[in-house]
């Protein structure tokens, strides 16, 4: 039998010690970034671990605004997140509904295709997609940023799982009442799957907001640069030494820009993290 003794107490101590260390390691770089972005540039180098509220300043943020068109970056990212996100959030449940609740010729083949897409490295598509964009005349346009990847195989797969759980009786009852299939989808399926949809929404938002590889390839003018591409260009300038020898001020700016880029997604995360964690967990449970 279990007996409460030093063993279990030590176990609990070890458990919480381990979890605390892990949580601190997880958050430390983020906190360091935010705190350091508020420190005078020279302090970031001379005393990276110090925190003196009296010396906090917005200088880094002001000089960042002078060097980076960060407003444009935000606008472009917002356009892509909203439009691409909306398409994903409409198309995934639609396809999921078809796969979960209908029988039709070609269904198995199409569904197998969805599953295969899950395994395909996105890098593989880089070159042919870029060529397709140039054939369409879409290089450095919003279409190029929005349309490829406006559907997400994981989203389709997951929406199917969620919709499978809806009892058929519910849908049949609506059919008896004379509702057509679109009506059934919009007024019965969508309301029922709202929690799953919320989780898909958080995941989709984070993925699109943080997306980097495709935007870096598809866009080569400043007008359409997303925030992430803009940030990376800044770092490259630094690495190649183009910004001169004033390291301290440049590092401060870089941290300020990174903080500004991280804040929107962190706010969404803090508010909706329950949904996000549910979404991630759903990913592993179907096995």
């Amino acid at each position: 039998m279990k007996r409460p003794g030093t063993g279990t107490q030590l176990g609990a101590l070890g458990r919480y010690g381990l979890l605390t260390v892990a949580a601190v390691l997880g958050l430390a770089p983020l906190l360091w970034m935010m705190v350091s972005s508020l420190k005078p540039g020279a302090d970031i180098i001379s005393s990276p671990f110090s925190f003196d509220p009296g010396r906090l300043t917005l200088t880094n943020f002001r000089s960042m605004l002078d060097t980076i068109p960060i407003g444009t970056g935000f606008r472009n990212t917002a356009i892509v997140v909203v439009l691409k996100g909306a398409l994903t959030m409409i198309f995934c449940p639609m396809a999921g509904f078809a796969f979960a609740k209908y029988v039709f010729p070609g269904k198995r083949l199409l569904f197998a295709t969805v599953l295969t897409t899950l395994m395909l490295p996105t890098l593989v598509l880089l070159i042919p997609l870029l060529l397709e964009m140039s054939q369409l005349g879409w290089v450095s346009t919003f279409q190029a940023l929005i349309l490829p990847g406006a559907i997400d195989a994981f989203g389709v797969f997951w929406m199917r799982q969620v919709i499978l759980a809806i009892p058929d009786e519910l849908l049949d009852a609506a059919r008896v009442d004379g509702a057509n299939e679109l009506r059934i989808f919009v007024s019965i399926v969508v309301p029922v799957i709202r929690p799953g949809l919320a989780a898909l929404g958080v995941l989709t938002f984070i993925n699109i907001y943080n997306d980097f590889v495709w935007p870096v390839v598809a866009v080569n003018d400043e007008q359409h640069q997303t925030l992430q591409v803009m940030l990376s260009a800044l770092a490259q300038n630094i690495r190649s030494g183009q910004l001169g020898a004033d390291w301290t001020s440049v590092w401060g700016q870089l941290l300020a820009a990174s903080t500004v880029a991280a804040i929107p997604v962190l706010i969404v995360f803090v508010v909706l993290q329950r949904h996000l964690i549910k979404g991630v967990m759903a990913g592993s449970l179907k096995g």
Partner: protein, 297 residues
């Protein structure tokens, strides 16, 4: 499964031929236009020496021959391989330990949030932080090391250091995600299995090896596959943190692929993409196989 089949029959009797196609149409169109077509196009391109303009000239397997005998290609694969070794085993070990500790802990929500926060933070932003933290002369990491009497390490200036720095960033960003996946797997183990084992006198360690590990192999293999896909597609981390340097030490398979784009060697790049697909699929299948066979025994 039974309910699906029953409902399937019911739907078949109702005969609704148009609706499912309409619902699935947007997916099919986007998929066909921006995934299927490009893949076939890439396959075709991989047999040409196309540089971005003019007619396609078929050159057979020359691109593949070139890559498979090129030290640069093998170096990029080896770099990804080394990063895989640095990231995946450590991640599985750490994530499983944390997930098991988290299973019985209070404040689970708070801990999971702290652990997964790195995963949502923009990668490019954190890559900048890494550049600053790991700077040889001014970085906080080396300052910390010297304060406890250790010598400065050339994190970004030596081949081994740069690989480790990139691996640490990947580990930091993705381990929390693996923890959440494993927690989901652990939550499916009924707690009476553990109670029975406790009554039988099995210690914590024995329970871990004979109950927890075998029952989460499915999730573990999922974590390994996701990790494999991540590492062999690594792009942004080395691109921003090291630019592939020093001396190509962190030029991953993904960065090498990107080099063909910037050089306009598109036929060669397409062939490289195809080799990468084969590599990633083979590695993923191998990890599934390996863990499945453990499950069976």
């Amino acid at each position: 499964m039974a309910t699906t089949r029953r409902s399937a029959q019911r739907v078949r009797r109702r005969r609704v031929p148009v609706a499912p196609y309409l619902f699935v149409a947007p997916f099919v169109l986007v998929f066909a236009g921006f995934s299927a077509y490009p893949i076939f196009f890439a396959l075709q391109l991989s047999f040409t020496n196309w540089h971005g303009a003019g007619a396609l000239e078929i050159i057979g397997f020359a691109n593949y021959r070139y890559l498979l005998t090129s030290p640069d290609f093998w170096q990029s694969m080896a770099t990804s391989g080394v990063l895989w070794l640095l990231v995946v085993p450590a991640q599985v070990l750490v994530a499983l330990t944390i997930a098991v500790a988290l299973r019985k802990a209070k404040f689970r929500g708070v801990f999971s949030a702290a652990l997964i926060a790195p995963f949502v933070t923009p990668l490019v932003a954190m890559a900048q932080v890494w550049i600053i933290l790991f700077d040889k002369d001014f970085g906080a990491v080396n300052q910390g090391l010297s304060s406890i009497g250790l010598p400065a390490i050339g994190w970004l200036t030596t081949s081994a250091g740069a690989k480790v720095t990139v691996a640490l960033l990947v580990l930091w960003r993705t381990t929390g995600y693996a923890v959440i996946l494993l927690m989901a797997g652990l939550s499916t183990i009924p707690s009476d299995v553990y109670e029975a084992a406790t009554i039988d006198g099995a210690g914590a360690w024995h329970q871990f090896w004979s109950i927890t590990v075998p029952l989460v192999t499915r999730t573990l293999s999922f974590v390994v596959v996701i990790g494999t896909l991540t590492v062999f597609q690594l792009f942004a981390e080395p691109y921003v943190v090291t630019g592939g340097g020093p001396f190509n030490a962190t030029r991953t398979a993904g960065l090498y692929l990107y080099k063909h784009i910037t050089n306009s060697d598109l036929g060669l790049g397409a062939a490289n993409s195809m080799l990468l697909v084969v590599m990633v699929l083979a590695l993923s299948l191998a990890s599934i196989r390996l863990l499945r066979s453990r499950e069976d025994s």
